[in-house]
Each structure stands twice: as C-alpha cells, then as structure tokens.
C-alpha cells in the first residue's frame, strides 16, 4: 500500500496537464553560444555544467528523494540541438496531437520561433546527419523498409555503471578524471570528463543547500526530514553510499544528471536488486523498519515517472505512451551462474503492487534454477494486468551475448534497456534502437518486381532474401551516418565516464570508448511474412487455385473487387498461420528471421563494433503496417503487422498459448542478441486463484525451457471482449474461461458471450 506521503506524490504526478519546458534548451543554447571554437566534447561538458548550475531545482512538500529534471513533473524537454525542425513543424500541435500531448505557452512558442529555431537551424545533429547520409541510403528510406532512429534526439538506450558510482563515490571518480586529465592534457575527453564530474558534485550540493534552506521555514517534522535529506546529499556528493537512502538518492541524481546531459530515452537502471543489495542490508542491519524501506522504494519508483520523453508525432506512433525506459531488472544468475536473487528482488517486484505505474519498467530474469517463490511473486504482479514485470530468459540471452564475443562474466550480468533491448550494464554502448527493418515491405517489393510471377516458390523466396540483403546494407549505411553524427555533434562525456572502458581508452562512448560497441537493428514482420509466403506457396504454387496476377490485383485493390472478400477469408482461415505450432509455416518464419540476422551480422559500425539483429516493435507494428499494402495472409492494406516482434499475427493464433510458444521456440532465438519481444494474452479468469497462478508459473518455467528470450502478458479486458463480439474474425484466438471450462470466445452464443463479458468486468 502507498503511504499518505506516496499517495500525495503519486497524485501530484498527474495533477496538471503536461507542459513543454524550454529551460534546458535555453540554458544549453546560452552555453553553446559562448563556447564557439572549442572542441565539441568540451562544449557539451560546459553546456551540461551550465544546466546543472542554473536550472531551477524543486523539492516537493513530500519528497524523500531529491532530483528533478523539470520544474513540473512529466514536463516535455525539447532538444533543438538535436533537431530544431520537427519541433517547429509541430509547435502548435503539442496539445492536440493524437498521442503524447503537451501544453505549451504562447510565450514559449515565440521564444522557440524567434530565438531557438533560428540559432539551431543548420547547426543541429540532424543537419550533420543529413549532410553526411549517403544519397542512396536517403533514397532507400523512402521505401519505408527502414528508418533510422535517434537522428533528432539523444541516443540513450544504455545503463551507466551505477554499482561503481555507489561503491566509489563521485569524489573518487572525479579524482580519477583529474589525474588522467593532468596526465594527458591534450586529451579533450579527459578535460570534458573533469568538467562534467565536478559539475555533478556541485549539482548534488545545490540540492543539499536547497534542503537546508527549506528546513528553516518548515514545520518541525518536515524540517527534520529535510535536514536528514541534506545530510544524505552532503555525503553522497563525493562519498560512497552507506545505506539504501544514500544509494537511492545517488542513483536517482545520477539518472537525472544523465538526462540533463543527453535528453535521451532509456538511460536505464540495470540490475537494481544486485547493486542495491549491500546498501539494503546495511539499512536493515541499522534497524530501519520494513515500512520505512518500502516507502523509500515507493518514492524512488514514483520519481521514475516524473521524467517523460517528448517525441515527434511520427515517433510517438511507434513508441506510444512514454516508454521512458527506466528499465529495472531483478533475478537471473550471478557471475558464477548461480541464482542471484535475494530478498530485495522480491521486494522490488512487490512494490509495483503499490505504485501501479508504467515506470520503472520491471523485468524479471529467469533461468533453470530460478526459485519457485520468485516465479510466484512475479506471477502475482503479472496477474494485476499491468503487463509488469516482463520476463527475460538467461538460458538464451547469456549464450546470445557470448556468440557476440562478450565474456561469460559480462554476459551473465546482462540487463535490459528501453523496452526489451539486451545490454551489458556499464560496459556497452549498443545503439540498441537505431532502426527497425520491415521485412513485409521486402515481400511487397519482390512481388511487384515480377508482375507475372516467379517460376517457383523457391525463386520467390530467393527474391525476397535478395531484397532483404540489399536494404539491410543501406540501413547499415544510414545507421552509421547517425552513429557518426552523435560522435561529431553530441558526445556524452558524463555518461562515458560511467561506461567502461572510456576512461582507460580516453575516448567518449560515441567515439568507441565503450568495451562493447554493437548497433542493434530489429527485423519486423516475421509472422506476416511467414503467413503470406505459406499462403502463396499453397494457393498459387501447389494448388494452383489462384493465379499470381489475380493475387497481385486483389492486393493492389485491397480486396475490394467482387469475390475478393471470399478469397481474403480463405487465405486467412484455410492456410495454417505462424503461431499455431505448424512446422511448415513456422519454418518459413525461422528461415527469414535467421536470414535477416545473418545479413545484419555482416555489417560493421564506426566504433569498431558490428551490427546485431533483434526483433521487437514496441507499438511500431502500427506505423510499419501503415507502410504496407494488403498482403497475401489476408491482411488489409495499412492494417497493423503482428505485434511484439515474434508474436503471431493478432487473431491468427487459434491453438492457444502453448502452441504459440512452441512456434516461437523454433526461431533461432540466440541470434537475436539485441533483444526480441513476445506478447501473450490471457483472460483474467484464466489466471484467477492459486490454481491459475500455479499455471502461469508453470507456463513461465516452460518458456524458459523452450529458450525464448522474452515474454510479457496482456490480461484481456472488457473492451477487447466487446470488440471480439462485434468483430469475431479479428479475435479467433481469444480463449475465455468461464464456469470451469475454457472455450474459444467466438464460438459461443451471444447470450453466453454477454455473460462472460459481464463476469470479466466483475473479475477486473
């Protein structure tokens, strides 16, 4: 349960509409104007220092942890230094756009138009990117097969070395920076490192001073709290953490500072149950009560919801609803391969029952030795219906990293950034979300290249593969231009200090300073591609029931001709689909996702790393589907693609959740070392009671044994059931559980459907 304090904090997060806040942009620009001619990494450090010295710091009435990025919670921070263009285009749209709205004052709009835009036009990261993007890669993006991300925003998608910050303290890190800078005065990165770390220490002290100032006027109880916070801040400004209060305060201010530096999505939290464990133990040993510890963790969880990330309208379609990416991982193996979980792992899951918010994005790592009670705790939280925690599988993810040359100990320490991207905390700058690749578009291009068809199904498959190969190469060129744009215009020296081995190498992570340097690109559309090719194989090549020309014509007119709908339905229902444990069609999915991955691996990036494949969509299956016409799997033009990444197409997995796991297990999941995503849907009643929970746990253990990377659960709500009643064709996969029996929803009479709908609402 939330306490009165944390209830008040939670309410304050949503008390007012989200604002656009120009403070950081103005401070950044002010500094930038004064540092013309200096090395870019030093300019970035000085800009950060200026922000940390000058932005308004706020300590709320109830805070136990200090650190705010913006004056009001959940405000949107614009980064014209990344790209001033989309912001100008959308200035008037922030309050009304379909997804992720913000309010913005007329005065701020004027400031943006008159001061910020004119300065940054021609100077931004986006300008560098466009000037250096090879023409053919620019041209290729017009096909909408891929589009390079992070060309108008910070890179993010990384985990700082938080354990070192806690155990060494900022003072020791600053001392190292000074020592190295003095030893190598010509190294710009070291100069920048000194500026950044010193500025961070001063920033922590600003909060200390603010706490002391507020304490003077506060009521006695609150004054005592503020003075305790001030003492904590005074200590962690330079020294290692002593207990949980120190550790959470230092982690949070580190995160806030890194957000000030790059204004990026997904500067994630890593394995908090591991690095917080000694401090938690110290707090318990010192006699701090369970209720106090729980409240402190609630405060920390709520803080992660104070930062949201403004995206362009286009980007918000793919990443709808502020996935700010404070991903927090518990469980998994330790460096020796034994169970790493502890009491704090369970507590960190349990606190979600109190806060019930999207951040932190909790992830549970499991392996063959994960204790039953940890599954049980996770199952209880999953059943709440928030889709939290998601579950990751060491049995495949550790080998996946080792295939990429990551050491065994580092691989066993993996965590998650953003949504589902796998990363090595504090050691990897992985450009994990640099592009998505639409394999379904490649099918369309290959089909339309031959109006009279291919001589065989094999020839069609070859043509799709060659199309994939050509565009993967062009995607890599585009990603590399973006990679270099960050190096040339937007290094992140503070983040680099906190990522091994940048200090040893004397190089910013954008210039290859990290120990591990992959670029991650997601292959999307496995399900639709497999379903489409299998339908073509059977209907066109084997049964010869449908001519190539007729198929193309139906696709081109989006099934609008006479008799087309019967054909569309036939293609949907008469040919097996990926996700039903049917080997013939699953094999096509396996073949193409593997082919994509093998092609991706052939390409190198400018940081000395290589490209690696992943497969997730977040919400991008909607816009990626918009880019595609009708497809031979019976999908309408512009309709969404399969969600998730590895999930079956919505409504097409009719054989239940065990069959879909089996289908996914046939893919080469070790190959997708950047991370993949599987959504599974349950009705609330399926998971009800101790027996339902036991089955969910068994399902998760089976998932681990099947060597699938990731899984997350949707617990189906009333709205879905109503939609299923109106559009049964879209919900053929929906299994409902009533009166002790499971049944396919669409096969029930309306009266019984109504009954289930009503009861489900009761359950929820």
């Amino acid at each position: 349960m939330l306490t009165p304090r944390t209830q008040a904090i939670r309410a304050s997060l949503f008390a007012r509409p989200r604002q656009i806040d120009l403070e950081r942009a103005l401070l950044y620009t002010e500094s930038w104007k004064q540092t013309e001619g200096e090395p870019v990494v030093v300019r970035r450090a000085k800009a950060l220092r200026h922000i940390l010295e000058s932005h308004e710091i706020v300590i709320d009435e109830y805070d136990l942890i200090a650190g705010n990025r913006t004056r009001t919670p959940r405000a949107g921070v614009l980064s014209p230094e990344m790209s001033p263009y989309w912001i100008l285009d959308e200035l008037d749209l922030f309050p009304t756009r379909p997804q992720d709205t913000f309010e913005m004052s007329e005065a701020d709009k004027r400031t943006y138009r008159d001061e910020l835009y004119p300065y940054w036009a021609g100077r931004s990261l986006n300008d560098w990117y466009r000037a250096n993007l090879p023409a053919r890669a620019a041209e290729a993006q017009k096909t909408r097969i891929f589009s390079v991300a992070q060309t108008d925003k910070g890179q993010g998608h990384i985990i700082a070395d938080l354990p070192s910050v806690l155990s060494r303290g900022l003072g020791d890190i600053a001392a190292e920076a000074h020592r190295r800078a003095e030893g190598m005065p010509g190294n710009d990165f070291y100069q920048a490192a000194v500026i950044c770390v010193d500025a961070t220490i001063a920033y922590v002290r600003r909060y200390e001073a603010e706490c002391r100032r507020l304490a003077e006027a506060a009521a006695p109880a609150r004054a005592a709290e503020l003075l305790r916070m001030a003492d904590t801040l005074a200590h962690v400004a330079t020294e290692p953490a002593r207990d949980l209060a120190d550790a959470l305060q230092l982690v949070w201010l580190t995160e806030v500072t890194l957000e000030h530096e790059s204004n990026a999505s997904s500067i994630s939290l890593g394995r908090a149950d591991q690095y917080l464990w000694p401090y938690y133990q110290a707090s318990v040993a010192a006699g701090q009560g369970a209720a106090d510890i729980r409240e402190l963790l609630q405060c920390f969880y709520l803080k992660t919801n104070t930062i949201v990330f403004v995206r362009s309208t286009e980007s918000a379609k793919s990443f709808a609803g502020f996935p700010s990416g404070f991903n927090l991982v518990v469980g998994g193996v330790d460096a020796e391969g034994n169970d790493a979980s502890n009491e704090l792992s369970r507590l960190l899951l349990d606190v979600q029952k109190d806060t019930r918010l999207p951040q932190p994005n909790l992830s549970l790592r499991v392996f063959s030795g994960t204790p039953d009670d940890l599954y049980h705790e996770a199952g209880e939280v999953i059943r709440l219906g928030d889709g939290i925690p998601q579950v990751f599988n060491d049995e495949v993810n550790v080998p996946a990293f080792m295939r990429r040359g990551v050491s065994l100990a580092d691989a066993r320490d993996y965590a998650v950034v953003g949504c589902v991207e796998l990363s090595i905390p504090g050691r990897m700058y992985g450009l994990h979300d640099i592009s998505m690749f639409n394999m379904v578009r490649c099918l369309e291009i290959a089909m339309h290249a031959r109006p009279h068809g291919y001589e065989s199904f094999d020839a069609l498959e070859d043509a799709v593969e060659k199309t994939i190969d050509a565009y993967v190469g062009l995607m890599a060129e585009g990603c590399n231009a973006c990679d270099e744009a960050h190096r040339e215009t937007s290094p992140t020296p503070l983040l680099s200090v906190l990522v091994a081995d940048s200090m040893e190498k004397g190089a910013d992570i954008t210039a290859g300073g990290a120990r591990y340097n992959p670029s991650g690109v997601q292959g999307v559309g496995t399900a639709n591609l497999a379903d489409s090719l299998y339908a073509i194989k059977r209907a066109v090549f084997e049964e010869k029931a449908l001519s190539w020309e007729d198929l193309l014509a139906m696709l081109d007119r989006d099934w609008s001709g006479a008799g087309d709908e019967a054909w569309r339905q036939r293609l949907v229902t008469r040919y097996p689909k990926y996700g039903n444990d049917v080997d013939e069609v699953d094999e096509i999915g396996r073949r193409f996702l593997e082919h994509y991955g093998r092609e991706v691996e052939c390409h190198a990036n400018p940081r000395g790393g290589r490209f690696q494949p992943g497969s997730y969509t977040v919400s991008a299956h909607i816009p990626l589907g918009e880019a595609c016409g009708a497809t031979p799997d019976g999908r309408h033009a512009h309709e969404q693609l399969a969600d998730g990444g590895l999930s079956p197409m919505v409504g097409r997995d009719t054989h239940g959740p065990t069959a879909s796991l089996r289908s996914v297990s046939k893919l080469d999941n070790v190959l997708d070392s950047n991370g993949s995503l599987l959504n599974v849907k349950f009705s609330p009643s399926t998971l009800a009671g101790e027996r339902g929970l036991a089955k969910l746990e068994a399902y998760l253990r089976a998932f681990s044994r099947l060597h699938i990377q990731h899984i997350q659960f949707n617990v189906v709500d009333r709205a879905t059931l109503l939609d299923a009643q109106a559009h049964p064709e879209d919900h053929a996969d929906l299994v409902v559980r009533v009166a002790g029996y499971s049944a396919m929803f669409v096969e029930l009479s309306k009266a019984v459907q109504d009954d289930i709908i009503n009861r489900t609402e009761h359950v929820l």
Partner: protein, 288 residues
C-alpha cells in the same frame, strides 16, 4: 458404425484442445473422440455424439459468399467455404498421429503436473484405441487422464488401468431406471466397472454435473453420494450447468433440450457441495 476389429487402431477425433486448464490437474491437452452411445439432454459437446464426421455451420462466421435467398441454407460444400463457417467435424486419426500431436506440449505438462486427457463423446466406445493411446502417452512420460461414463463393458480393464493415471467418472442420475430412460447410462454397469478398476488400483475422481431438473435434486445427490462412499471414492468435481454448448447445437442443427436454461453459479451449488462435504467427500467446484 464400424466395429473395433476392422478399424485397426484409428478413431474419429473432433478436436485437440491445448492449454486446457480443466479436466485433470495442471496444463492439459484434451483429445475429444467422436461418438457416444448415450444421450444426456444437457450434453455440452453435441459434436461428439455421432460416431461419424458431420457438417457444422456457424452462421456467425458466414459472409454470405453465395446467394441464399429466402433464408435458405448454404449449399456450398465445407471445402468451398472460405471462412470455416461450414466445416466438417471429425477426422480419422491414428494413435501415432495423435500421440505426436499431444506430445508437443510435454514441456508444459512436466512443469505444471499436467498431461493428456482423453474425452469424448464416450472414449471407451473405442476402448482399444483409448487404451493404446493412453498407454503410449504414459510411456512417453506424459500424465494421463480419462473422462468417461465407464458405463460400457470393458474388454481389458487391466490394460486400461495400467495406462491411466486418473479416471474422471461421471455420477449423474443415481436411479437406475431414470438414468436409463433419460441418458441411456446404466449406473450398475458403471459401478461394476468401478469395482474392477478400483481393485486394480485405479485412482478415480467422481464428476457430478449439476443440471437443474435432472441431477440437482436432493434425493439424487444423496444417492450419488452414498454410491461414491460405498465405492470408496472420496473426491468429486462438481460441475455447475453451463450453456457453452448452445452455439454448437445451432451449428449442427440439432435439437437442444436445455435451450435457454439458466446457467448455475458457484453460489447455486453451495447446498450440494455442503451435502457432499458433510458426507465425507472432498469437492472441487470447477468454476473458479
């Protein structure tokens, strides 16, 4: 109907339902054999009454791909139906084929303590197939359950008991004459079989569908309970009446005696559960 002898070892299977959470413990796959010699008016699996494949037409999925003036029935064959609205229920399967299919979820069975449940229709109407199938599943390491009336003569009770981890045996109408008249089931045949398999060491769970007007009377429940006690069966699943079969009767064009009858909730069966529990029988209401 063909005889066991010349059908080798195949049976008509209507459905293999994976991730079935009922009909035995854990995550289960239920295989439904087509055909039942009995006729319970409330049957929720009417597609498994006839021993032969039959055509089902789900009007709710029909897109009227061919003209059907005056509300006439669709004249197209199931093979021509684009949506699967009209479909043939039941396909001849070999034991090998069916064991392979249910074996796909072995990982889930192992992790949940689940397994395979053979159901129907009346699976023991194909006793040789049922025994062989369950034996093969068990040999492959899967848990096995058989859902049955047990009211048919058994050819080889020993082999069946060997192959079956748990029998789920119906206790519907206790009075012999009334049972034979309404359902065709002879409880005396069942009880003789029960004594045989219990003597052979079978684990048996009783199943009591609670159907208003048919099985829910106090007298009937008491008589069933007495019989259970007498046989030494101390666990019963109580199954409140539901209408999940209604749509299937429509699709098959069969008459349905319980159309529109109210479904029962868990609360509705509380008095019956109390009665059974007082008699020393532990119950699970399959409704949670």
């Amino acid at each position: 109907m063909c005889s066991e002898a010349d059908s080798a070892i195949t049976a008509i299977v209507t459905n293999v339902q994976r991730f079935s959470l009922h009909d035995g413990g854990g995550i289960r796959t239920v295989a439904f054999l087509k055909g039942c010699p009995f006729r319970c008016p409330w049957c929720c699996n009417p597609e498994n009454l006839s021993f032969l494949p039959e055509v089902s037409m789900n009007e709710r999925l029909c897109i009227r791909c061919s003209p059907r003036p005056d509300g006439r029935l669709c004249e197209r064959s199931p093979e021509e139906c684009p949506t699967g609205a009209k479909t043939i229920l039941g396909r001849e399967r070999t034991v090998d084929d069916l064991v392979d299919e249910v074996g796909r979820d072995r990982v889930f069975f192992e992790e949940s303590g689940g397994g395979v449940t053979l159901s129907g229709g009346e699976a023991l109407a194909r006793e040789a197939f049922a025994t062989e199938f369950l034996a093969r599943c068990k040999a492959a390491g899967m848990g096995t359950a058989l859902e049955t009336t047990l009211a048919l003569p058994l050819t080889d009770a020993g082999a069946l008991v060997e192959a079956t981890d748990v029998f789920l045996v119906d206790f519907k109408i206790a009075d012999r004459e009334r049972s034979r008249a309404l359902t065709g089931i002879d409880p005396d045949v069942r009880d003789a079989n029960l004594r045989t398999i219990l003597d052979l060491g079978a684990k048996v769970i009783g199943r009591m569908p609670i159907i208003p007007g048919y099985t829910d009377g106090r007298e009937n429940v008491a008589a069933c309970a007495a019989r259970l006690i007498e046989l030494g069966i101390r666990r019963v699943d109580v199954l409140p009446f539901h209408q999940l079969g209604e749509g299937k009767y429509d699709a098959l064009g069969h008459a349905y005696a319980c159309r529109g009858m109210r479904q029962l909730s868990e609360e509705d069966v509380v008095p019956i559960v109390d009665m059974l529990e007082r008699g020393g029988i532990s119950t699970v209401v399959s409704g949670e």
